[in-house]
């Protein structure tokens, strides 16, 4: 019974932890402009993150070594240093977006302006990073984040024209009002939102934090392979809500307050309260994961002591890194930059940086010195190569498309 509960908890937290501000914003924007015609990208992204996360979880569980230790060891200081710089900066950008997302969600609950919420959110974030146990942190934010299921419920309550939605999803076409370049730009953004690299740093370091061994591999694979696809369904539900309510009215989503309106329309005040709680939990959980990821990546690259299972004094530089990153995020947000804009950039840059983490993980997952008998099988490698092509293509195409479309405007 206890074992079953453990399995259920793992899967539920994986679902609840899947969504972050990037998924919320990108899916709603895409839904309002393209309907469900980009839903296929979410499917491609979810399969990719399942593959990628289960590979890095396996590497961490078998070798006990987290991603960036391995990247440095395999690529040497020069290439790994460039990789670290890019990954660290994009992670910082994502952290900024998540903290901004918490503030925007709290604004929805209080109509107090976000700039007043930002320091509060950052302090709460640091206190949890500083004092809470890793597993408690993961389980609480994951389970509360599950309330975002209300988006899926809202789709049914809105009573949409199902055949039209299915038509958009299964025979995707670029809507008349939008250009091809914009369509592909948002395809890359959506792909970056689903496959955010920080999830991989976090997943592999989390496996070390929770002291996974080969015995836990089955559980971790189950969490990923069941949890993430359900998370992907929630992503599509967010896009569907926007597609049902906003697309016919010609409304373009540009703020978090718009994202919750379809839920209010479908389920009234109760659903609205639930979705706000869910957004706070999802962004707060993701902010925790990105703060920790900033510490993980730098500490692992430099060979410092790291981990939340240690007392802060036993991983001093790791904790100092996180404090500095949270302060930088607060500083950036206090300039009144629009967190939604930061989010839109962070998902595209995530897509650009993906090959940097994906390729080293793929190489090490095939290295018998680290993995022994647990190296990638033939099927995994075949799929991994297909994704390597997709990831590199998206990464290369992202910047030209961003310039050509004026970042999707």
């Amino acid at each position: 019974m206890k074992r079953l509960l453990g399995v259920a908890l793992g899967i539920l937290t994986a679902i609840g932890g899947f969504l972050d501000i990037g998924d919320l914003v990108t899916n709603a924007v895409v839904g309002s402009r393209f309907g469900l015609s980009l839903a296929w990208v979410v499917v491609v992204g979810v399969v990719g993150i399942c593959l990628f996360a289960s590979m890095s979880g396996r590497v961490a569980a078998v070798s006990g070594r987290a991603t960036f230790e391995i990247i440095r060891e395999r690529l040497g200081p020069r290439a790994a240093g460039a990789n670290l710089t890019a990954s660290f900066l994009i992670n910082l950008l994502t952290l900024t977006a998540e903290v901004g997302g918490i503030a925007l969600a709290l604004q929805l609950a209080s109509s107090v302006e976000p700039r007043l919420w930002i320091p509060v959110a950052a302090l709460a974030l640091w206190l949890v990073v500083w004092r809470t146990k890793f597993s408690t942190m993961e389980n609480v934010t994951g389970l509360v984040g599950l309330t975002l299921v209300v988006f899926a419920v809202a789709v049914f309550l809105l009573g949409p024209d199902w055949s039209e939605l299915a038509d958009q999803a299964f025979s995707p076409a670029v809507p008349a009002a939008e250009g091809h370049a914009v369509y592909w730009y948002y395809a890359i953004a959506l792909f970056g939102a689903a496959m955010t690299p920080y999830e991989v740093f976090f997943f592999s370091s989390g496996a070390v934090e929770e002291r996974w061994t080969v015995k836990d591999l089955a559980q971790s694979r189950l969490n990923v392979l069941v949890g993430f696809p359900f998370g992907g369904i929630l992503s599509i539900a967010i896009a569907a809500c926007a597609a049902i309510v906003f697309l016919p009215a010609g409304i373009e989503v540009s703020s978090l307050s718009q994202i919750v309106l379809p839920v209010a329309l479908a389920g009234g005040k109760l659903a609205l309260a639930v979705v706000i709680v869910g957004i706070v939990a999802a962004t707060f959980g993701a902010a925790l994961e990105t703060s920790l990821s900033s510490g993980y990546t730098l500490a692992q690259f430099m060979g410092w002591s790291w981990g939340k299972f240690r007392r802060p004094a036993q991983a001093a530089r790791f904790h100092l890194t996180m404090i500095v990153c949270i302060l930088v995020a607060v500083g950036v947000l206090m300039t009144s930059v629009d967190p939604i804009k930061v989010t839109e950039f962070s998902v595209v840059f995530s897509a650009i940086a993906l090959p940097l983490t994906y390729l080293p993980i793929l190489i090490v997952a095939n290295d018998p010195e680290y993995m022994g008998e647990h190296v990638n099988g033939k099927v995994t490698n075949a799929l991994a190569l297909v994704y390597l092509v997709i990831i590199v293509t998206a990464s290369v195409a992202a910047i030209p498309l961003m310039i050509a479309t004026g970042a999707g405007s």
Binding site: A249, I251, E252, S257, L261, A264
Partner: protein
Amino acid sequence: MRVVRVLLGLAAVAAAAGCAVGSAATTVDEARALTAPLEQASSAVGTATLATELLGDGRSIAAVTDTALLDQVHVLEEAADAVATFVPADGTGAAWQADALTAVRDAQLAVADARGWANGAGADEAAVVAALDASATALDSLTATLDEVTGG
């Protein structure tokens, strides 16, 4: 090397020519340039109407509607800015710009009123929604006029 230099020179000339064409915009280009902010404005008014009606029906809470309306005030500000900084080439363009500016300003007024109502300041829901609807109609008809010119 020489070929590269010639090509670079040609590219520079082409770019300059492109800019020159850009400033001597045709009527179609002008109509198109005004359509974008008008669509943005009508998206904002649509959102504001939805947020207001949800609060009126008791399906939304005041904080969410207030935030949604505030966000739309910012969107309209952007749209008004785009219309106001537009430089028309002839009388037709100038007339369109004046109409667009009036329509966007009316939208700003309607959304600001709605926000006042959401926060409990006078007016009644019916009047606020009617003003938003009128603003939406005005924006749509102006967009339709411009669409006829662009053929879009």
